[in-house]
Every structure is written in C-alpha cells, then in structure tokens.
C-alpha cells in the first residue's frame, strides 16, 4: 500500500470497532463525534501533508526494511539526519495544526523497541527483534498510526508493582495460553488512543525480578476485544458542541487523551516483544522516554502559532509599536527557539546503537524536555499579557451574531478600525484555546508531564553529567592539585 492520505486514513478508522465512552455514554460513531473529530483531523494532517511536495522531505523517509517511501511516523531512524528531520517534522506539524497531533508516541515506541528487542535477543537468544521487524513492516506497509502506551495508573507510588494492594495498578500477564497471553491493567493519559489503528504497550518503570509478570511489551489492534476507552475531559471541550465554531479558537484541529482499560485481553505470541525479561524494562522505558523528550519540538511549532497570534492581536489592538510589546514578542521567540535548540541538539548529537537504530543524546534530550516543562508557560503568560483581559471576558459567538446585542459587541470591541471586530475576536479565541482551552492540555500541562514529569528529567540530568570531568577542569584552572 502506498502512503495513505487524510481521506483514506479516515475511512480506515471507520472500519475499527472501538468501545469508547464519554459523558456516561458509549460513542457509536467515534470518527464523526464532534468532540473527538478535531483530534482525528490532526492525525489526518500527518497523512495528508506527506503528499505535499513542500513538506514531503520531512514527512517521509525511506524504509530500511523495504526501501520504500514511508511516512516518517512509521520509520526507524537510520542516521542523525533522520533524528534531526524528526525534530523538524514535529515543529512543522505543531505550526500547521496548533495542537498535539498525537502520532509521535507510536513512532517513539517503535524506535525504542527496535533497540531493546535487539539487546534482549543478544543476552537471552530470544527472537524478539525479528518478530518486531515483521510487525514494523506490517505497520509501514499499511501506514498505520500506533498509540505508544506506557503510563500505568501506578497506585501507591511507594510500592513496587508486585506489592500493590490491587495487582492491576500496573499492566501484567494473568494467564498463559498456547497461542499467547492474557493481560489485565490500564494505561492512562493515552494521547490519540481512538485515532490509532494499533496500541503498543510498554512497561512504565524499571523492574526487579519480583515484578517480572509486569515486564511485558506487545502490540495489538486498538479495537481488540476487552479494551475500553474512557475519554478524558479537556478545558472548554463542550464548546465543540455549540452551534458556531468561533469560540473553539482552533477551527480545525485538537487533541485527545483517554484512559485505556484492558480487561483480560488476549495477546498472541507473535505480537509480544518483551515477556518477563524484567532486567530490560528500565532500558525500554529510558529509550522511549529519551526519544519522546526529543519529540517536544512540536511545542516550538505550537509556539510559532501562539507568537503569531500574539503579534496579530497587538496589531489589531494598535499596540504593536509599544516597546514593551516588541520586547515581549522577542522574549517569546527567544524562549521558543531555545525549545527548538534542545530538540535539534539531542538529535544532532545522536549515535548508532548495536541494533543499527540511531538514538538521541539522552542528556540533551532531558535538557530539551526540562525546558519544555517551563518555557511554554512563560510564552503563554506573555501571550495573555499582550492579548489583554478581553480574552477571558469576550461574549459568545451566539451573542455576537444576535440581532439584539451583536451590534454592541461589533461597536465596542472594534479596536483598529481597519480590522473587523470578528477577526479580533477570532484571534483572541485562538490565544485562549492554546493557553486556557482544549489546546492548553497539550501546550501546557502535557508539556509539564508528558514523557515524564520535571523531576524525572532532573534525575536523568544528574545521572548523566560528568561531574568528575567538570571538577577536574575547575581544579586545574584554579591551581588545585588534581588528586586533592
């Protein structure tokens, strides 16, 4: 199959039979549900833009298995150039959609598995890597979207998986059968879950031997029997049910997250990539996390949209020449490009692993993500500063269109007289969407906690810096003998 386009992707989702719940009801038509649809549009964009000549160089790659052109979201990185293009693709899509486009988690899971399965095989003479590569070929040939699912509910954080009062707090195997295993548990915060064809499960923490039943990784169709999706709420989500579309801010795209419950789900052996090799759980977690921390170049793309919106509202307000406004825009750009710097740096400093896959520099990937836990909040604050308080007191579109009161909104909320009041309202709604609304889920809180919370990166930074080398150069330059 050649690369799918947006329409083909949409049709492929219609063939799946998800068990999805939202607001207490089972969703019968997931693809057309008005709250879910914008997120499907965002994933569809990853398919459609692969066909645009002006984006193709970032959106596609050459498969190292088949030699065919594949969507980069299905590609295993074969060079630092690939890693850099992945970062650039993230920024591109962030700027084109203004939201979380959801497909990166699966790509990062597959790249991590390409390495971990190889390393498990080297130690235990298993056949996971061959099995994984066969699965990868299937994903590439069919241009699938995979949900990379790591985060377990975790229960009592002071207890290991096997110590939990409820054993299902971490996903685990409950039964072995001739054809495969049965698993039970859940995965939280699953980005793009119901826009995915496949779900790839990974452990969420490093493990000890007592936790071996929890050291599992596998991939199954996202609509497998026994899987239930419970959609997460987002700030301002029900605006998507309103008659007009202006108050959504972003007219086209959005993201979603879900709790994914596995009730005794059967997994065939040929889809299992780790089974009780507990000593490799930590490696898989770290490798996935490092790739995923690199992936936050997407926030630089969303930042491009927010900065553009801030400049636009400044112009619409007639405030663009004020020196403090100009300086705030400069600061936003400085912070935004610094985010991008981190992603490009960890990619450029990547290296080849024994499996052949290229892996990011993990110290720089963690620095990248640590910045992402902070800078979007400041960029958002500056955007709100420039936008003004009207952003959060603006009447509804319905009032704006009202024959009785619309004229007052038109009159009193016009600023620059060359600009229609509606445009001023629209750009304010976009800033609201990214900093407070549905897109703030991805731009702010997900920037904080996605791919690991801030402390996780600080631990990794602490582990990976070479303090002995730093002390050595400091002592040398200050005349202190090296061994003192």
């Amino acid at each position: 199959m050649s690369l799918m386009n947006a329409k083909q992707y949409e049709e492929s989702l219609r063939k799946l039979h998800f068990n999805v719940w939202m607001f207490g009801k089972k969703i019968e038509n997931v693809v057309d549900d008005p709250i879910i649809r914008p997120s499907m549009n965002a994933v569809a964009a990853t398919y459609e833009f692969a066909h645009y000549p002006e984006y193709e160089d970032l959106m596609t790659a050459t498969s190292h298995i088949t030699g065919k052109k594949v969507n980069r979201f299905c590609h295993i990185h074969q060079s630092t150039a690939d890693l850099v293009k992945k970062s650039k693709m993230g920024r591109l899509l962030g700027s084109l959609t203004g939201c979380c486009f959801q497909r990166c988690v699966g790509m990062d899971a597959m790249n991590a598995l390409s390495m971990t399965t190889y390393d498990i095989d080297q130690k235990y003479e298993t056949g996971y890597n061959k099995r994984f590569l066969k699965y990868l070929e299937y994903v590439q040939e069919n241009d699938l979207t995979c949900d990379g699912a790591m985060t377990d509910p975790k229960g009592d954080r002071s207890k290991a998986p096997h110590q939990q009062d409820d054993p299902d707090m971490f996903m685990h195997v409950v039964e072995e059968r001739e054809g495969g295993i049965v698993v039970r548990g859940a995965k939280c915060h699953q980005t793009g879950a119901v826009n995915s064809h496949e779900i790839i499960i990974m452990p969420t923490i490093s493990m000890r031997e007592e936790d071996k039943d929890y050291a599992i990784s596998f991939a199954i169709p996202a609509d497998s029997e026994g899987i239930t999706y419970i959609m997460g709420r987002q700030s301002c989500d029900t605006r998507k049910l309103e008659k007009g579309t202006m108050d959504r801010g972003n007219q086209f795209y959005g993201g979603h997250e879900a709790l994914v419950v596995f009730e005794d789900v059967f997994v065939p052996w040929d889809r299992i990539f780790m089974y009780k090799e507990w000593d490799f759980a930590g490696q898989l977690v770290e490798q996935f996390a490092s790739y995923h921390r690199q992936s936050y170049a997407c926030k630089a793309g969303v930042g491009d949209v927010l900065i553009g919106a801030a400049q636009t509202i400044a112009e619409y307000n007639g405030a663009q020449k004020a020196s403090h406004v100009k300086d705030k825009i400069i600061e936003m750009n400085h912070l935004n490009e610094t985010l991008y710097c981190g992603s490009i740096a960890c990619a450029s400093e990547g290296h080849k692993e024994p499996s052949g896959t290229y892996y990011v520099n993990t110290l720089l990937a963690n620095v990248c993500k640590q910045n992402v836990t902070r800078f979007p909040f400041e960029i958002a604050r500056l955007a709100q500063d420039i936008a003004g308080g009207l952003m959060v007191t603006l009447p509804s579109e319905e009032d704006f269109r009202s024959p009785e009161v619309g004229k007052w909104i038109e009159k009193y909320y016009k600023a620059n007289t060359d600009i229609p009041t509606e445009y001023r309202m629209r750009i304010l709604r976009l800033i609201e969407n990214i900093t407070l609304g549905t897109a703030a889920v991805g731009y702010l809180t997900e920037s904080m906690h996605g791919a690991g919370s801030p402390q996780a990166q600080r631990i990794m930074i602490s582990r990976q810096v070479n303090m002995n080398a730093k002390k050595k150069v400091a002592k040398k330059l200050s005349g202190i003998p090296e061994d003192e």
């Binding site: 000549p53 160089d57 959106m59 293009k85």
Partner: protein, 99 residues
C-alpha cells in the same frame, strides 16, 4: 524550435522557512513559462534538479542527486537569481551544475 527544459523540483521539508517557498516557486514558474517545465525530482529524465530550501541550512540530502546538475535556492533573492541564470543560458547541450 523552442526546446522546453525539464527540471526536477525538490523542496526542503519547511520546518521554519524564512520565506514562502511555494510562492517563490510559483514566481519562478511564471517567469520561466515556455522555457522550463518543472516535474517531480524523482523523474529521471530531467536536465537537472532545483532544490528549494527555506533557509541557508538547506538540510535536504543532496546525495540523492549526485552527478546531476543541481541548483539550491535558499531565499527569494536566490530564486530570482535562478530565473536570470536560466534565461541567460542559450543553446547549451546541458545545464551547468549551479552549486
């Protein structure tokens, strides 16, 4: 008889372009209408390839085009320069490599 040259077109991925590459190509096509037909870079039957990069980094992998005449534009000014270069070429058997 006017021979229309066939030139392959390859864009960079456009992560953070410093100018509108698509508009620049549209302008090139307008100015070279009747002289050049731009086709896919994957077409092997071309006289050369025009690479349109959004910034001086020009991160497109050029090894794909080794041995073939190649031009890389990284700005609107480069795009204008490319148009002038093509217009000045008269009755040549092949196009010179432009990088």
């Amino acid at each position: 008889m006017n021979n229309i040259r066939k030139i392959g077109l390859k864009y960079c991925g456009g992560c953070a372009p410093q100018y509108d590459r698509v508009q620049a190509v549209a302008s090139i096509k307008r100015h070279l209408a009747g002289r050049v037909e731009f086709v896919s870079y994957e077409d092997r039957d071309v006289e050369g390839v025009l690479v349109v990069a959004g910034c001086p980094t020009a991160c497109v992998d050029l090894t794909l085009f080794e041995g073939r005449p190649l031009w890389v534009v990284t700005s609107e000014k480069d795009a204008e320069g490319f148009v002038e270069k093509i217009k000045k070429m008269e009755n040549t058997d092949g196009l010179e490599r432009g990088i």
